[in-house]
C-alpha cells in the first residue's frame, strides 16, 4: 500500500500542477508537487525499510487488467521486491531533494511557467517509479517511454532556445534507436516464453535453455539474442558508447533536470533493466561479454573526453557516461548487485555534483564555461565543500561512498577471470585515474587560481539560498555514508538475504564470492591510480599550469580528437545523417511528390466527383425519400429471391 502511494503520489502532483498550474499559480503548484514528493519519499523509504526488516514480504500488487488479447495478457501491477524497493526509495528521495532545490534554482526563470517545470519533474518521477516497479515488460516499457517523454519535455523546457530544442530532439531520436532494440527484445521474450510477465518468464528460464532462432541459415540462441536486444535498449537510455551522443547535449536543460534525469535516475534505467533481467542474462554469456565490452569501452572513452571539456556541466555529463560504463561492466561480469550498489551511491554523489555545479552556475550569473571561472572558493565556501565531497566520492577515496562501489566493480571485473573481464578491469582502472584527474581539474579550474570572470560577474558571486544548499547537504550525507551503510547488505556477506528473489543468478555465477579473494594489488590499484590522478591534476593546473597547453601543442591531433569527443557527432553526420537526408530528398521529389501524391490526388478528384453525384438525390422531398426506401426494399427482396434462395 505504502509502495503504491509512493508511486502514484507524484502522478497526482504532476496532474494537479499540469492541469491547474496556470490557475493556481506557481507557488501553489510548487507546494503541491513537493508535498506529493515528500509523501512519496516517506512512503518509498518506509516501504524499503519494512521490506528489509521483514515486516512485509515481497510480492506483486495487482491494479487491474490492461491488455487481454488471446494468450497475450498484461496486468497493471507493481512488483514489490528488494530491487524495486531500493530503486523506489532512492528515486523518491533524490527527486524530492531536487524538487526542493529547483525552487531556488528556477526562481529567476524568465519563462514564468514554473508550474510547467514542476509538473514535468513530477511526471518524470512517476514514470521512473513506474519503470522500476513494473511487473512486466510492457509496463516497464511504458515507464521507459514515459521517462523518455519527460526527459524530452525537460531538456526542451527553454524551448525558445534553438539549442535546447535541438538537444531535446536529439535525445528523443537517439533513444528511439535503442528503443527499437528493446521493443524487439520484448517481442522475442513473448515469442519465446509466451508471456512478458516477470514471474512467468523468470520461472521458465530453465525450460527454454535450448530455444534458438534460425535466421538465414544461422542459428542463434534465444537468450543471447534477447539479452543483446535488451542491452541495445539499455545502451540508448544509459548513453553507452555509440548511442551516448545525446547525453552531453541534454545539458541544455535546467541543471536540476541534469541532476535528476541525466545523472541519478533515468540514465540508470538501462542498468536497472540488466539487473531486473539477471535471471535470463545469466544464461547468456555471449550477451554479457558484449555488455562488459561496451561498458568498459564507454567508461574509458567518456573519461578521456571528460578531461578536455570546458563546460562544467559537460564534464560531469561525460563523467556520468563513464560511471554508467562501470555499472555495465559490473552487470556484464555477473555482479548485478555491485552494479545496483554503484547505481545507488552514484545517484547521490552525481546528483550532488550536478546540483553543486548548478549552485556555481547560479553564483556565476549563468556562466557555464570553466575558463571564465576561478578564484571563487572563498566566496562560496559551502558549495566548494560540497564539490569536494562529491568529487571525493566520485574519485573513490576511501570511506566515501564511491570507494566501496567502484572498488567492488573493479574487483569483480578482475575476479570474473575472463578475457573480456580483464579488458574491463584495465579500462576501468585507467578510467579511475582519468576520473580523479578531470574531477580535480574541474575543482581547480572552477574555484582556484585567478578570477577569470569579468568584474561585474565577480561582484555578484554569492552563496545560494538555503532552499538550494539544504538539499546539497542532505545529498552530501548520502554521498558520504551510502557506501558504508549498504556495503555489507548489498554486496557483502548479507547479500543473499538482502536481495531475496529480486536478483536471481545462475548456480555457476560466484563472482561476488570470488571478489573477496582477489590479489591485494587489485584492491589497492584503484586507490593508487585515483590519488595519482588527483596529484596529476594539481601538477597540471595548479603548480605548473603550462603543461596542458604544452601537451596540446605537442599532440594536436590527440587534443583535437578528445576535444571533439572522438568525432562521434561528425561520424554520425557523415555516415548516417547526410546520406539519409539525400535519400529523403530523393524519395520526396520522386517518390512522394510525383508518385505518392499523384495517385491520391487523382483518386481524391474521383472521390469528390462521386460525392457530388451521391448527394444529388438528397433533394429534400419526402416523396423521393420514401420512394428511395421502397426501391431499396424491393431491391433487397429481389436480390434475395433471385440469388439467395
Amino acid at each position: 500500500m505504502l509502495f503504491a502511494v509512493a508511486i502514484f503520489a507524484p502522478l497526482l502532483g504532476s496532474a494537479i500542477a499540469g492541469l491547474f498550474g496556470k490557475a493556481i499559480g506557481d507557488r501553489a503548484a510548487m507546494a503541491v508537487t513537493i508535498l506529493c514528493m515528500l509523501l512519496a519519499s516517506g512512503c518509498g523509504v518506509s516501504a524499503f525499510i519494512e521490506l528489509e526488516s521483514g515486516d512485509t514480504t515481497a510480492g506483486v500488487i495487482s491494479l487491474g487488467t490492461w491488455v487481454e488479447a488471446g494468450t497475450f495478457h498484461v496486468d497493471w501491477a507493481l512488483r514489490y521486491d528488494a530491487l524495486s524497493a531500493v530503486m523506489v526509495a532512492m528515486v523518491t528521495c533524490v527527486a524530492t531533494l531536487i524538487h526542493i532545490y529547483s525552487i531556488g534554482y528556477m526562481a529567476h526563470d524568465e519563462n514564468h511557467t514554473i508550474w510547467r517545470f514542476f509538473s514535468y519533474l513530477s511526471l518524470f518521477s512517476f514514470a521512473m517509479l513506474m519503470l522500476v516497479s513494473a511487473d512486466n515488460l510492457l509496463q516497464l516499457f511504458f515507464g521507459w517511454e514515459g521517462v523518455g517523454l519527460a526527459s524530452y519535455l525537460l531538456i526542451g523546457y527553454w524551448y525558445y532556445r534553438p539549442s535546447a530544442g535541438a538537444a531535446a530532439m536529439k535525445a528523443f531520436i537517439v533513444n528511439r534507436v535503442g528503443d527499437l532494440g528493446f521493443a524487439l527484445g520484448i517481442a522475442l521474450v513473448f515469442f519465446t516464453f509466451g508471456s512478458i510477465d516477470f514471474s512467468t518468464v523468470f520461472g521458465a528460464v530453465g525450460q527454454h535453455q535450448d530455444a534458438a532462432y534460425h535466421v538465414l541459415g544461422h542459428t542463434y540462441r534465444a537468450y543471447e539474442v534477447i539479452g543483446i536486444l535488451l542491452f541495445i535498449g539499455a545502451m540508448g537510455k544509459s548513453a553507452q558508447i555509440g548511442l551516448h551522443v545525446w547525453l552531453p547535449d541534454a545539458m541544455e536543460g535546467p541543471t536540476p533536470v541534469s541532476a535528476l534525469i541525466h545523472a541519478a535516475t533515468m540514465v540508470t534505467a538501462g542498468v536497472f533493466l540488466m539487473a531486473r533481467f539477471s535471471p535470463v542474462l545469466d544464461y547468456a554469456p555471449g550477451a554479457l561479454g558484449f555488455v562488459t565490452f561496451i561498458g568498459a569501452t564507454t567508461a574509458l572513452f567518456a573519461a578521456t573526453v571528460g578531461c578536455t571539456q570546458t563546460d562544467i556541466k559537460r564534464v560531469i555529463a561525460y563523467s556520468t557516461c563513464s560511471q554508467l560504463g562501470y555499472m555495465f561492466v559490473a552487470a556484464g561480469v555477473g555482479a548485478y548487485q555491485a552494479s545496483i550498489f554503484h547505481l545507488l551511491t552514484h545517484a547521490f554523489f552525481k546528483a550532488l555534483l550536478f546540483l553543486t555545479a548548478g549552485s556555481v552556475i547560479h553564483a556565476m550569473s549563468d556562466e557555464q564555461d570553466m575558463r571564465k571561472m576561478g578564484g571563487i572558493w572563498r566566496l562560496i565556501p559551502l558549495t566548494y565543500t560540497m564539490m569536494w565531497v562529491g568529487n571525493l566520492a566520485l574519485g573513490g577515496i576511501p570511506f566515501f561512498s564511491g570507494y566501496y562501489s567502484k572498488d567492488a566493480i573493479i574487483e569483480a571485473a578482475w575476479a570474473s577471470c575472463s578475457l573480456v573481464g580483464h579488458y574491463g578491469f584495465w579500462c576501468t582502472v585507467i578510467a579511475a585515474f582519468l576520473t580523479a584527474f578531470y574531477s580535480w581539474r574541474l575543482i581547480i579550474l572552477t574555484f582556484h587560481g585567478a578570477p577569470r570572470a569579468d568584474h561585474h560577474t565577480m561582484e555578484h558571486v554569492h552563496e545560494s539560498p538555503a532552499v538550494m544548499t539544504v538539499p546539497l547537504l542532505l545529498l552530501a550525507v548520502g554521498a558520504v555514508f551510502a557506501g558504508w551503510a549498504f556495503h555489507d547488505q548489498m554486496i557483502g556477506p548479507d547479500w543473499k538475504a538482502f536481495w531475496g528473489d529480486a536478483i536471481q543468478i545462475a548456480a555457476s555465477n560466484h563472482v561476488l564470492h570470488d571478489m573477496e579473494d582477489v590479489p591485494g594489488w587489485v584492491s589497492l590499484t584503484p586507490l593508487v591510480v585515483g590519488l595519482a590522478g588527483i596529484a596529476t591534476a594539481y601538477v597540471f593546473y595548479m603548480f605548473v599550469p603550462g603543461i596542458p597547453g604544452a601537451l596540446a601543442a605537442a599532440f594536436p591531433w590527440a587534443y583535437r580528437f578528445l576535444l571533439n569527443k572522438w568525432y562521434f557527432d561528425e561520424l554520425y553526420a557523415a555516415v548516417i545523417i547526410r546520406p539519409v537526408q539525400y535519400l529523403a530528398q530523393g524519395l520526396w521529389q520522386i517518390g512522394d511528390v510525383t508518385i505518392i501524391d499523384g495517385i491520391p490526388n487523382g483518386i481524391a478528384a474521383l472521390t469528390e466527383d462521386g460525392s457530388s453525384q451521391v448527394v444529388k438525390i438528397q433533394n429534400g422531398s419526402i416523396a423521393v425519400y420514401a420512394f428511395a426506401m421502397l426501391i431499396g426494399l424491393v431491391l433487397l427482396v429481389s436480390i434475395f429471391l433471385l440469388f439467395l434462395r
Partner: protein
C-alpha cells in the same frame, strides 16, 4: 412470473410521469432546469436498477434481462444523460426552456430500454414506437422554426413508413411460423423444413424497418435533413441512444430468433453495410454544414457496426458493442462542441465558422480534434479500437472483402474529419465564440477523456461486451 425483470423500465416510467406532474404543477419558476436534473437523477436510479437487477425471461416471454440487454441499457442511459446535460445550455439559448423536453427524452429512453430487453416481436415494435414517437416530437420541438418542424414531419412520415414495413414483416413472420417469441422462433426455425420463402421476405421487411432506425443505406434518406433541422441536442440524441438501441435490437433479432438463418440474412447485412460505408464516406465530403456532415458520418459508422453483425460470431457482436460505446462518447463530445459554436447568442453550423478555433479557443479545438481523430479511427483514440475489434472479427469470419472496404472507406472518411482539424488550426481566425457554459465543457471533457484514455483500461469494457455477446449465441 418475475415482474422485477422490468423494474428499471417501470421505475423510470413512473418517475417520468412524476416529473411531468411536477412540471405541470410548478408555475412560479420555469421548471426546465430542475426537470432536467430530475431526469438525469431518474436515469441514475434506473441505471443502478439495471445493474443490480435479476436476470431471466419474464412477462410471458415478452421481455428478457440478460448481460446483453443490460450492457445496452446502461449504454442507452448514459447516452440519454449526456443528451440531457447537453440540452441545458442549448435550450437556454434557443428559447426551448420547456420541461417537456427532458420528459420526452425520458420516455424515449424507456422505449429504448424496452427495445434492449425485447424478446418478442410485439415488444420490439411497441418499444420502437415509444422511442420513435418521442423523438418525432423532439425533432419538431423548436416549433417556430421551419427547419425543425419540417425535420419532425419528415422523420414522422418516413418513420411511419418504416414502421409499416416492420409491422408487415412481423405479420409475415408470424403468419409463416405461428409465433412471435424469439425463443420459440429459434426453435421452430432450427428445422429447415419449416423455413419458407415468405418468412425470409418477412425478415427482409424487418431488417428494412430496423435499418431505417439505424439510418443504414438505402433507408438513410431522412438522416441528413432531420439531423440538420432538429435542435442540436436532439440530433445528439438521435445520433447516439436510439442508434444503440435499434442496433442492439437488430443484433438480437438476427442472432437469436433468426440465428439459424445466418446464411440468408448475412448477405443482406453485408450489402447494406457496404452501401452505408460507401455513402457515409463519399457524401460527407461535399458538406458545408457540420450537422449534415455528422449525419453522413453516422451513416458510415453504422456501416462499420453492421460489419460486426455480418460476421455473425460472438467476436463480431463484441465488436459491435464496443464500437457503439466508443461511438456514443465521441458523438456526444462532438455535438457538445457543435453546441458550443455560438457567436453573440446565435448558433452556428457551418464548418467554416470553426476557422482559427485553435487560436481563439484552444481547449475546444483540442477536444474537437480528439473526437475527429477518434472518428477517423486513428490510434490510440477510442474510435480506433472500435474499428479494430470489428475488422478483426470480420477477418476471423473470412470476410476479407468487407474488412478491406471498411478500411478503404475509413481512409476516405479520415479526409473530411481531418479537414475540420485543418480548418480549426490553419484557416484564418474568425471572431471568438461566446464563452462556453460549464455543462458543455464538462460534457466535452468527459467524452474527450473517455475517448483518449480508453486504451488504458479497455479490459473491463471488453470483458462486459464479450459476456454480453456470448449470451446471444447460447
Amino acid at each position: 412470473m418475475n415482474w422485477t425483470l422490468a423494474l428499471p423500465e417501470i421505475v423510470l416510467a413512473v418517475l417520468g410521469m412524476a416529473i411531468l406532474m411536477f412540471g405541470v404543477l410548478q408555475k412560479r419558476h420555469n421548471p426546465f432546469h430542475l426537470a432536467s436534473m430530475l431526469t438525469v437523477g431518474a436515469f441514475l436510479v434506473a441505471g443502478m436498477l439495471v445493474i443490480a437487477g435479476p436476470e431471466g425471461l419474464g412477462y410471458h416471454g415478452q421481455f428478457t434481462s440478460d448481460p446483453f440487454s443490460r450492457f445496452v441499457q446502461v449504454l442507452v442511459l448514459v447516452a440519454s444523460s449526456l443528451t440531457v446535460i447537453a440540452s441545458l445550455d442549448y435550450n437556454d439559448h434557443a428559447n426551448l426552456r420547456r420541461f417537456e423536453f427532458p420528459v420526452l427524452i425520458l420516455f424515449a429512453t424507456v422505449g429504448m430500454l424496452v427495445m434492449a430487453g425485447a424478446s418478442n416481436l410485439m415488444t420490439l415494435y411497441v418499444g420502437l414506437e415509444l422511442q420513435s414517437l418521442s423523438i418525432y416530437v423532439l425533432a419538431a420541438f423548436a416549433r417556430d422554426e421551419l427547419r425543425s418542424t419540417e425535420a419532425g414531419l419528415k422523420y414522422f412520415v418516413l418513420g411511419s413508413l418504416a414502421s409499416g414495413l416492420l409491422l408487415y414483416g412481423i405479420s409475415l413472420v408470424y403468419g409463416f411460423s405461428g409465433t412471435m417469441e424469439f425463443d420459440k422462433l429459434a426453435m421452430t426455425l432450427a428445422d429447415p423444413t419449416k423455413v419458407s420463402a415468405g418468412l425470409i421476405v418477412g425478415i427482409v421487411f424487418i431488417v428494412a424497418g430496423l435499418a431505417f432506425k439505424v439510418s443504414a443505406v438505402p433507408f438513410h434518406m431522412w438522416t441528413p435533413d432531420v439531423y440538420e433541422g432538429a435542435p442540436t441536442p436532439v440530433t445528439l440524441l438521435m445520433g447516439t441512444a436510439p442508434k444503440v438501441a435499434a442496433m442492439a435490437l437488430l443484433v438480437r433479432a438476427m442472432a437469436t430468433p433468426f440465428g439459424h438463418l445466418l446464411g440468408q440474412w448475412q448477405q443482406l447485412i453485408v450489402l447494406v453495410s457496404i452501401a452505408s460505408m460507401l455513402l457515409g464516406a463519399l457524401a460527407a465530403i461535399g458538406q458545408k454544414n457540420i450537422k449534415r456532415l455528422m449525419a453522413y458520418s453516422s451513416i458510415g459508422h453504422m456501416g462499420y457496426v453492421l460489419i460486426g453483425l455480418a460476421a455473425g460470431t460472438p467476436n463480431g457482436i463484441r465488436g459491435v458493442l464496443i464500437y457503439l460505446v466508443t461511438y456514443v462518447f465521441m458523438n456526444a463530445g462532438t455535438f457538445a462542441c457543435i453546441i458550443a459554436m455560438r457567436r453573440r447568442g446565435r448558433s452556428l453550423e457551418r464548418i467554416s465558422d470553426l476557422g482559427g478555433l485553435g487560436k481563439t479557443d484552444p481547449m475546444l479545438a483540442m477536444w474537437l480534434t480528439v473526437f475527429m481523430f477518434s472518428m477517423a479511427g486513428i490510434p490510440p483514440f477510442a474510435g480506433f479500437w472500435g474499428k479494430y475489434f470489428i475488422f478483426t472479427a470480420a477477418v476471423q469470419s473470412g470476410m476479407w472483402a468487407l474488412a478491406v472496404i471498411g478500411v478503404l472507406t475509413s481512409v476516405i472518411g479520415a479526409f473530411y474529419y481531418i479537414r475540420i482539424i485543418k480548418v480549426m488550426y490553419f484557416d484564418t481566425a474568425e471572431a471568438a465564440f461566446d464563452p462556453r457554459s460549464a455543462s458543455l465543457s464538462t460534457l466535452a471533457a468527459v467524452s474527450g477523456l473517455f475517448t483518449t484514455l480508453f486504451f488504458v483500461f479497455p479490459a473491463p469494457l471488453v470483458g462486459a461486451a464479450e459476456a454480453a455477446a456470448k449470451v446471444l449465441f447460447g
